[in-house]
């Protein structure tokens, strides 16, 4: 029997309301005991966690692993290892690959490659519509049977409201979340950054907040109509946060994400044509950024998700309008969340763990297989954090194949120092 005893850390597990110095014993890949002064039998590997935080493994429900079709940017293996390096024990891989993950075979491919990856657990998602064309539903039941934990056309909205209604209704047979990228394409048309004075000065076409807001409003109404499980990805606007808050108060079944870049940066980061700050939804105003922070703080945005979007350097090395959207996020997420939200007093450490582990697990039904918790019997997935660590983001040291980040050189606090998956150390920080 393989055993690991994590000794003397501050165990923070909101799933059981726990925040205390304790030991965690993992046996045969699952949490065996949590408590003070656990004696380990001979042969137990011991990890000294004194002065560190021991949390249920962090989960990122929104990552792009680019395989198949974009292996020069990231592979399932490199992405899974980058996730582990960032403290994540599980990720949900988005299906907007080439070809898109819209069939049982492709979901199986992602799942199998994830099992071989040797990093974070990789959970596939499947497309809502065939080829992400927004015309015909995928065989959602088949995708679920192959291992998909949600369906999403991420990268594109489902513009046909009737079709999204069908998805929200049909997916209820599988209690499956339908995750949505909110963008009204006739409003965002051709836009490459936030609409406002900076876009005006730079001569770039802006995307108004309304492009996101009207779709959030529409989809909340569809979720209310159908009773389906809606998961709204990467919320970036103040009105979007308000709409979700109001819908939750009415009992609509909705979960939502706040991304580290959206609660850290504003559209000022785009100046002058910084393609590493080009993303969709775009970085918005300070008021929007503050609303995303407040949404994460009060739980309107249940989940912190990175939208890890790797791109090869020469794809970003273009004129702004020609460069692709997205930044990598797996290896900066914990530091940004701690620095921007915990160190500033907006949230406490247990809330950070709730937003990065427990809530993500619940949003994708991963709590049902014992993720997002350190209760005895749970999966032995643990992230050990050093909240006192101070470090500077150096993209050259990223494990991810891609380095496209606007945070290079930024000083952060807190980092993952060890990531255990099923009781096995998947990654350990060496200074």
């Amino acid at each position: 029997m393989s055993r690991v005893l994590i000794r003397g850390g501050r165990v923070v597990d909101p799933s059981q309301g726990m925040d205390a110095v304790a030991d965690v014993l993992i046996a045969d890949g699952r949490v065996a005991r949590v408590g003070e002064g656990i004696d380990a039998p001979e042969g137990t590997e011991t990890v000294d966690a004194s002065g560190l935080v021991v949390a249920p493994g962090l989960i990122d429900v929104h990552v792009h692993l680019r395989e198949p079709g974009g292996e020069h940017k990231e592979t399932i293996a490199t992405g899974a290892r980058a996730a582990a390096a960032g403290g994540f024990t599980a990720v949900v891989a988005m299906p907007n690959t080439d070809p898109p993950i819209d069939s049982i075979a492709l979901v199986g491919y992602v799942k199998a490659a994830g099992l071989r990856a040797g990093g974070a657990r990789v959970f596939p998602s499947g497309c809502i519509t065939l080829g992400q064309k927004g015309e015909q539903l995928t065989e959602i039941g088949e995708l679920v049977s192959a291992g998909a934990v949600c369906v999403t056309d991420d990268g594109r909205p489902v513009m046909n409201a009737g079709l999204l209604r069908m998805a929200l209704e049909y997916a209820q047979s599988f209690d499956l979340p339908v995750a949505v990228h909110e963008e009204e394409l006739t409003l965002s048309r051709g836009g490459t950054m936030n609409e406002g004075i900076i876009a005006t000065r730079l001569g770039l076409t802006g995307i108004p907040n309304a492009a996101e807001d009207v779709m959030i409003a529409r989809d909340l109404m569809l979720a209310e109509l159908t009773g389906g499980r809606l998961h709204i990805q990467h919320v970036a606007t103040r009105t979007g946060v308000e709409l979700i808050r109001a819908a939750k108060a009415k009992g609509v079944r909705v979960t939502a994400e706040g991304s580290p870049h959206h609660f850290t940066l504003t559209d000022e980061a785009v100046e002058w044509y910084n393609t590493n700050a080009k993303m969709n939804p775009p970085l918005r105003s300070a008021a929007d950024r503050d609303a995303v922070r407040a949404g994460v703080a009060d739980g309107t945005l249940d989940v912190i998700a990175t939208d890890h979007a790797p791109h090869h350097y020469d794809e970003k090395e273009q004129a702004f309008e020609d460069a692709p959207n997205g930044i990598v996020g797996l290896e900066t997420a914990v530091g940004l969340a701690y620095t921007e939200l915990v160190a500033t007093g907006l949230i406490d450490l247990p809330t950070l763990v709730e937003r990065m582990s427990c809530a993500p697990a619940r949003s994708m039904n991963l709590d049902r297989i014992g993720l997002g918790s350190l209760r005895p019997g749970s999966a032995g997935d643990v992230t050990i954090l050093d909240p006192m660590a101070e470090w500077t983001v150096d993209p050259a040291r990223f494990v991810s194949l891609s380095k496209n980040t606007p945070f290079g050189g930024r000083k952060l606090r807190c980092r993952a120092v060890r990531t255990l998956i099923g009781g096995q150390t998947a990654w350990q920080y060496n200074a």
Binding site: T200, R201, L204, G206, D314, A319, F320, E321
Partner: protein, 318 residues
């Protein structure tokens, strides 16, 4: 590598937004005597002899490209003009590769026109040669802004205190942005006129006032700069029809004649006669459109000369 000397303007001319009033005045003052060269029988001076200039036009252009070519040749520079069609760009070469190749050929200056905003800056940050922005996407067209300033100054003696209204498709116009920055820097009041569908977001934050009717704009302004309605963009529903645009926002003879006092009318061309401007206005007594074209060559000669290391004014912050 033939690195350009850093001039009073800096290495490049990418936009008017960052320029000081002193820098803008220097360019205009330098252009003023250079106009005379184009009037000579032998239209050539040796100022840029031995300098190599590449005109890199990734987007269709006739008047700007020819204006630059004349300016370069009249200053005796060696020039090469490359259009996007027929270039390696069509074979998929990226802008950064183009930049590296140009740099490897030891050139002194690049004049670039590109459909993407920021492309000129992108190039300038990657090569040591001087880069002149000949229009980048919807961002800026600084030499056009300068020639507009020169033309207005020729006729009014000063820019300071003038009321200048930029009319039409400000949203898609790089000329508008350069005009706004240049005019304001030299002390003009600036207005914009057109439907809100053709105005960029928060345009008032640039320090301009918006006129929703052309009659009010004409009444207010000392100078109108009438922009080309970019017909290729009109499929997006920015305006209901060209006919309605002319009815509501067109600079017509009747509207111009109703104005009390002087009015100067500019247009960066090419014009859509009968849409944003009527022919009898374009060819009428208020119009200085052809003089803009003449001044364009002089302004571009001035910019080339100054970036090549022409003298800074005494006490200038070189």
């Amino acid at each position: 590598m033939s690195a350009a000397p850093t001039s009073f303007l800096g290495k490049d001319l990418l936009a008017l937004e960052p320029l000081t009033a002193e820098q803008i005045r220097l360019i205009l003052d330098t252009a003023e005597p250079l106009k005379e060269i184009s009037e000579r029988q032998i239209k050539k001076v040796p100022t840029l002899r031995g300098k190599t200039v590449v005109n890199l036009f990734f987007e269709a252009s006739t008047r700007t490209r020819i204006s630059f070519e004349f300016a370069e040749k009249r200053m005796s520079a060696d020039t090469v003009s490359i259009a996007a069609s027929g270039s390696s760009v069509q074979k998929g070469e990226t802008l950064v590769d183009t930049a590296r190749n140009l740099e490897a050929m030891r050139i002194d200056m690049v004049v670039i026109r590109h459909a993407s905003s920021g492309a000129a800056r992108f190039l300038a940050e990657r090569i040591e040669s001087s880069v002149i922005n000949a229009g980048d996407g919807k961002h800026e067209h600084p030499t056009q802004g300068l020639l507009d300033l020169l033309t207005i100054r020729d006729h009014r003696g000063t820019i300071e205190g003038l009321k200048v209204c930029i009319c039409g498709d400000v949203l898609h116009s790089r000329v508008a942005r350069s005009n706004i920055h240049g005019l304001k820097r030299l002390g003009a009041e600036v207005g914009v006129c057109g439907p809100l569908t053709l105005m960029p977001a928060d345009v008032d934050a640039l320090g301009v006032r918006w006129f929703n009717r052309i009659e009010a704009a004409i009444e207010w302004a000392d100078v109108l700069n009438v922009l080309r309605l970019q017909l290729e963009r009109m499929k997006g529903g920015f305006i209901p029809s060209l006919r309605e645009y002319n009815r509501v926002f067109g600079v017509t003879r009747a509207r111009v004649e109703a104005k009390q006092g002087d009015l100067l009318i500019l247009h960066p061309g090419p014009m859509n006669r009968g849409v944003e401007i009527d022919s009898d206005v374009a060819d009428g007594p208020h119009s200085v459109i052809l003089q803009q074209v003449t001044n364009g060559v002089a302004v571009r000669m001035a910019v080339l000369y100054l970036l090549a290391g022409g003298p800074a004014p005494e006490g200038g912050d070189a």
